[in-house]
């Protein structure tokens, strides 16, 4: 097996037994980047010299027998909306093309302390708005399984980097599915933690009540390791919650999985996706997990709810990009025009579309009809989940309604693109944890993933079920 194909656990073992060095591991990863990234375009920038320097330091510490964190010396890819001090962070936008981060995201500080190696920053949909990574101002990323297809989005670069073995694991961010959907389309694991588990300090904000940073990895066990390393309350993010995480000691045969009847109605679900998700349900049944039908009566409103709340928060969060304190600034005589022209030239069409939509739903006369209404529907959706989690430990669904679509296929119709999020937005609205796990390939050889959702702070159930599933697949 190539060094680049190792999981975090496997790489850690080889580093500890000195079977390979951190420098060799890093060099192998950069070799893979050189070989594949010309075609895949997962990365916007790589940090080879710094990474090799850091790897040497890790090797020196291993040599003197120092006990290190499980992530020490592990090459990770970081999504381009997570700030790394003194490095370019652009959110794949022209408006931040020259911006250099002035501080570290809290998750970056934690990973630095653990001794992780940063391979580079990965491509994404501009400001995390999209489900295909096609709206990046710096070109699309290609699905490593089929170069004519999208990797999903918005964390398409991170998912593609993991799938193409151009890193051992990656960080992404998820507002409406942006970790899980690309993970599903690229055949890797992606976790969106419970809202408040991982600090958003240093994450370029998209929708503050929905965003979470999370791991994209080759295995469920790796997702658990990376999640454990980045979680924690943070005085710099007052929405973080102090909570401990312990591995769930229960046997999966004592667990119950709910199948929402609203998600498996006839029509609208790609037959290959349906087939493979149903197979996954059977595998859980064979493991002794109890399967029962549940209902999420307000699920049909989730996408509409999301596409009111998210653009509203986006319109507020992106108002800081105005050509004054950082980033692109278009010259103009009047101050108003500095703002208006900078934002016209700096933001791509999808970003501008969502800002305009958000401005509309928040504007006088429409605020109650749209935004307040959507917030109430959000309360209904959360209530649905609270009720269901009284009966079951986890809920299963497809992650994405379709496998990877062709590049350019959905770009002319925003609504068609938005419908890709139909199974993922609910977890962000309810603030619950959700994981996507690969479960096979379509007839065209494209990866398919199923999604498990659990009650707030119950990532333990997701990891236990996920690992049990993986064991069977092996």
């Amino acid at each position: 097996m190539e060094l680049t194909q190792l999981t975090i656990r496997e790489a850690r073992e080889k580093l500890e037994t000195r079977e390979c060095s951190a420098v060799e591991l890093a060099e192998a990863v950069f070799g893979a980047v050189r070989k594949r990234d010309g075609e895949v375009h997962a990365y916007l920038e790589v940090y080879e010299p710094q990474a090799i320097e850091d790897a040497k330091k890790i090797d020196a510490r291993i040599a003197v027998g120092e006990k290190l964190h499980v992530l020490a010396g592990i090459p990770l890819a970081i999504k381009d909306n997570i700030l790394i001090r003194d490095a370019h962070t652009t959110a794949a936008s022209r408006i931040l093309e020259e911006y250099i981060a002035s501080y570290n995201a809290t998750v970056v500080t934690k990973l630095h302390e653990a001794g992780a190696i940063f391979v580079g920053r990965t491509n994404m949909d501009e400001f995390a708005m999209g489900s295909s990574t096609e709206s990046s101002a710096f070109g699309p990323t290609r699905n490593p399984h089929n170069g004519e297809r999208v990797p999903g989005g918005s964390s398409g670069g991170s998912a593609a980097a993991v799938a193409a073995d151009e890193c051992i694991a990656a960080l992404g961010s998820d507002t409406g599915g942006s970790i899980r959907q690309p993970a599903a389309l690229c055949g890797v694991v992606g976790l969106k933690p419970t809202y408040g588990s991982v600090s958003r300090s240093g994450l370029i904000a998209m929708a503050s009540s929905l965003d979470q940073i999370g791991p994209i990895t080759k295995s469920v066990g790796d997702a658990e390791i990376l999640f454990d390393a980045i979680r924690g309350s943070d005085p710099l993010d007052s929405t973080t919650v102090s909570r401990s995480y312990i591995s769930d000691p229960r046997l999966v045969s004592s667990m119950r999985i709910g199948v929402p009847k609203e998600y498996f109605l006839e029509g609208g679900l790609n037959p290959d996706v349906k087939e493979h998700v149903e197979k996954a349900i059977h595998i859980f049944k064979d493991l002794g997990v109890e399967i029962q039908e549940v209902s999420l009566p307000n699920a049909e409103y989730a996408l509409a709810c999301y596409y009111v709340i998210m653009p509203a928060e986006v319109s507020a969060n992106l108002s800081r990009f105005d050509g004054i304190r950082y980033g692109l600034s278009t010259e103009a005589d009047k101050l108003f025009d500095v703002y208006a022209k900078t934002r016209q030239h700096g933001f791509g069409p999808e970003v501008r579309r969502r800002i305009i939509l958000g401005t509309y739903v928040l504007s006088a006369g429409y605020y109650d009809a749209y935004y307040t209404k959507a917030q109430r529907v959000r309360a209904l959706i959360k209530k649905d989940f609270d009720e269901v989690f009284k009966e079951v430990d986890a809920i299963i669904s497809p992650t994405a309604p379709n496998p990877a679509f062709a590049i350019g296929e959905k770009t002319s119709d925003p609504l068609a693109m938005y419908l890709e999020d139909i199974y993922t937005v609910t977890a962000n609205l309810a603030g619950i944890p959700a994981i996507s796990i690969p479960c096979g390939k379509s007839r065209e050889g494209l990866p398919i993933g199923f999604q498990l959702m659990a009650a707030p702070f119950d990532e333990g159930t997701l990891f236990a079920l996920g690992k049990a599933y993986e064991q069977v697949q092996r």
Binding site: S102, S238, I324, L328, R343, Q344, R353, I356, A379, Y418
Partner: protein, 96 residues
């Protein structure tokens, strides 16, 4: 449902300049999206309040301290600005 004037008003509020073609494209897109989200009116929300916050918690204050360590030096932040003069961020006059 959405007129060109509506889009122009929104563009002003959002401080984004749009070309005429863009105004028409966004007008059309907005109309389609609003048509889709119209289904929210069918949800029975009479008995729930707005969900404004996901996590519990009260205001979090930092400790009083003689010295507060900043994540970045002031000069670094000023240097990041597009316009700078004598250690201050330079902008167009607000009176224009």
């Amino acid at each position: 449902m959405i007129s060109k004037k509506d889009i122009e008003h929104l563009a002003t509020l959002a401080r984004i300049e749009l070309t005429d073609d863009e105004k028409e494209k966004f007008r059309h897109d907005l109309e389609r999206i609003l048509e889709y989200v119209e289904k929210l009116t069918l949800a029975d929300t009479d008995r729930v309040g707005a969900l404004a916050r996901i996590t519990e918690g009260s205001n979090i204050l930092r400790h009083d301290a003689d010295e507060v360590r900043l994540a970045s030096e002031p000069h670094e932040l000023v240097e990041a600005a597009p316009g700078e003069e004598k250690g201050h961020i330079k902008v167009r006059s607000i009176w224009n």
